[in-house]
Symmetry: C2
Subunit: 427 residues, 2 copies
Amino acid sequence: MRVAVLGCGVVGTEVVRLLTTQASDLAARVGASLELVGIAVRDTSIERDPVVDRALLTEDAEGLVERADVVVEVMGGIEPARTLLLRAIEHGAAVVTANKALLAQDGPTLYAAADAAGVDLYFEAAVAGAIPIVRPVRESLVGDRVQRVLGIVNGTTNYVLDKMSTEGLDLDAAVKEAQALGYAEADPTADVEGYDAAAKAAILASLAFHTRVSIDDVDREGISGITADDVVWAERTGYAIKLLAIAERSDQGVQVRVHPALVPLTHPLAGVRGAYNAVFVEAEAAGELMFYGRGAGGAPTASAVLGDVVSVARHRVLGGKGPVESSYAALPVLPASAARTRYQVRIDVDDRPGVLATVAAVFATHGVSIEAMRQAPAPLGPDGVGFARLILTTHQASEEALSATVAAVADLDAVRRVISVLRVEGA
Amino acid sequence: MRVAVLGCGVVGTEVVRLLTTQASDLAARVGASLELVGIAVRDTSIERDPVVDRALLTEDAEGLVERADVVVEVMGGIEPARTLLLRAIEHGAAVVTANKALLAQDGPTLYAAADAAGVDLYFEAAVAGAIPIVRPVRESLVGDRVQRVLGIVNGTTNYVLDKMSTEGLDLDAAVKEAQALGYAEADPTADVEGYDAAAKAAILASLAFHTRVSIDDVDREGISGITADDVVWAERTGYAIKLLAIAERSDQGVQVRVHPALVPLTHPLAGVRGAYNAVFVEAEAAGELMFYGRGAGGAPTASAVLGDVVSVARHRVLGGKGPVESSYAALPVLPASAARTRYQVRIDVDDRPGVLATVAAVFATHGVSIEAMRQAPAPLGPDGVGFARLILTTHQASEEALSATVAAVADLDAVRRVISVLRVEGA
Ligand SMILES: NC(=O)c1ccc[n+]([C@@H]2O[C@H](COP(=O)([O-])OP(=O)(O)OC[C@H]3O[C@@H](n4cnc5c(N)ncnc54)[C@H](OP(=O)(O)O)[C@@H]3O)[C@@H](O)[C@H]2O)c1
Ligand SMILES: NC(=O)c1ccc[n+]([C@@H]2O[C@H](COP(=O)([O-])OP(=O)(O)OC[C@H]3O[C@@H](n4cnc5c(N)ncnc54)[C@H](OP(=O)(O)O)[C@@H]3O)[C@@H](O)[C@H]2O)c1
């Protein structure tokens, strides 16, 4: 079985290491030995990990994919990855990819090509790294009906939020620490602004709901607006702030979004610390499930890639084929305005009688029902006049109704400032 | 595709419900419709859930298995389940079973028969109910090397221990509460004494280490020795008590055991509450993974069964076959005496100078290294003389060395009583 690896960076190096050091175990599991026939890189002259046999390096990726039975794509980016994968498929190779960006943008093109050619296309590593989530959703839960997926699928932002919580850092300081430890890239935008999570949300939603969802369908908000103060207040009121990828089904269709949210401290997702990832799934019959582990890193991601390589290689040996794209449900994909969530709103108001009632009345007028309201002691305002901090938690409301409510509340004379508006999930 | 269901109890009824209510979704996912051709029971005359079409009930299970392409066994017990499954396999049917007792006792007979007949044998529901754990270990982690599996795989005992912790109940009271809620059977022995967990431990170990492990290889100790006092002291010292199924690999082989253990409160398994299950896996490349969800109950278990039904039915439609038994590694299965764990020992001693040193010396003589020692205030003894409670935590030690140490400590004049000896895991 000839295996080609495209890319020899963080993940590719570890894929090569596992293929090399575990060769005999892999052969036993596959029923045939896996021969690494080449590793495509941009530049063959640069220094590599000693596990990489330099004789296998090539800058001719196009030529390499034509010489393999299994092509592993761990180079990233849209092009030339897409063209190379399509070429591999055309040549009848099974393909394994960790490329979430490509799948979230143009998955259906690849799925269709693989389906037409009758070859396997596997991508466990593209969502939540080492955590087996693609296979459980595609295969284990296929006899059930998934209702909702809530995922912490970006380790960088989870690390940052965790540091803000445990060490009281502000966002910038926490990001710098993540960069120093190699958890965040020099340009952290893709992580901090939720683009990476949005790609994974699209892939998860497609699988869970048998419906095509692309990254463009995902409503996205990152964590750049989260302050140290938000984190402190979240904990005081019984929540952790997490960047969540959310995909949910309603009678109207499917809604997919990424945003920071308050998660009750008693929810299993609240305990996911550091750079770990976790995906929480609610299914009709199975109930609540959670999958937890390392969402990134060379070795963990390579583990997921190798699981896929063994699966597709086994199919070559034993016959058969893995699941194909399942988009039969073709549910409507709804805009963010269709989502109904609970909210927590923090407001500073004048500390005088009647203010609470006035604020509550505005919520009522807009049809937003208040679940809980508490008043926290606050220091004197800059003008020396006492003020009070209100923390309101609503029942489920639409974004539209909530925005209108908040705008109207902000206009009240007695309201000094709307400090923050955060969604509450998992409660 | 003709489907036969053997058994129509807690799980069988929910399997029938999903097959009936999700028929069109299942057909889309399989690529062919699933026709329920019969449901075998002991007694067709008793009242059943209205979802069960009485015309499909039969007391002739043997005849039924010959009329099906897929046989779902959810009747439980060793016989006639084994004979029926073997007959189904002989007739070329794919089989799906939730029967952990049978697999843990005689799995290899079934695996060999399925392999010889070239049919699928799936059993996701046999371990940890709804939680996808069999498929991830058999397929996702197949390119990696599992080092250790720690599982909370029995919901009844987890519920009981949780109640002891949160409500201060003693074991009997907590078991009664579990019985009242239907979490524990009238005779709770299989759960409380760890037999159910041992069956699952054997299955998990076989999968994780590619080695045959039967329930007879599993060293088993239940929770009947755990007192309310143990639970209180565990928490005071930073631990939760959990009944764990443990399978670990060393240079010498594989060791599999079930026993109550102290798990650090910061470990993800410590937060698994109520009747939930979770399996924590440590793999060389993937690192730490955890799978969490409902380990029992009709609907959750049926979800796992249906996932398997769809997989094996798809293979019939598209060709191919799932993984077969993988026992190529054939590692030696080691006795309990080979396990090395950390221990926490609680001892009441006379409150006078030199006792601590004397006790420590006994540990040292037996080669058991002490990691931490603390002294807790204790009330006066019955004789009016002051005593002190020592809590010692050891580094890893063999059971043999630890037992000898404890026996020698108990013989010391200054020692009043060895209160408890508990293993520490996951630290
Ligand atoms: N890193 C993670 O933790 C992680 C986790 C999950 C998924 N992924 C995904 O895995 C993929 C790889 O990530 P990575 O972190 O390993 O990336 P990386 O460290 O940047 O490595 C990329 C590799 O691809 C090669 N490459 C890039 N463009 C090429 C081209 N046009 N032709 C030939 N070779 C090319 C590079 O060659 P040179 O070495 O010559 O520059 C390099 O070896 C991405 O899709 C990523 O999203 C990564
Ligand atoms: N319950 C759970 O939460 C759970 C979770 C995971 C796995 N499992 C496994 O699933 C299996 C079924 O469990 P369950 O709780 O559903 O059991 P159950 O409620 O006791 O149901 C057993 C069913 O099998 C039928 N049956 C028993 N012996 C039979 C025989 N000799 N011939 C024909 N039919 C027979 C019974 O028929 P009658 O109705 O006529 O008595 C009954 O319908 C067991 O292997 C169990 O370990 C259960």
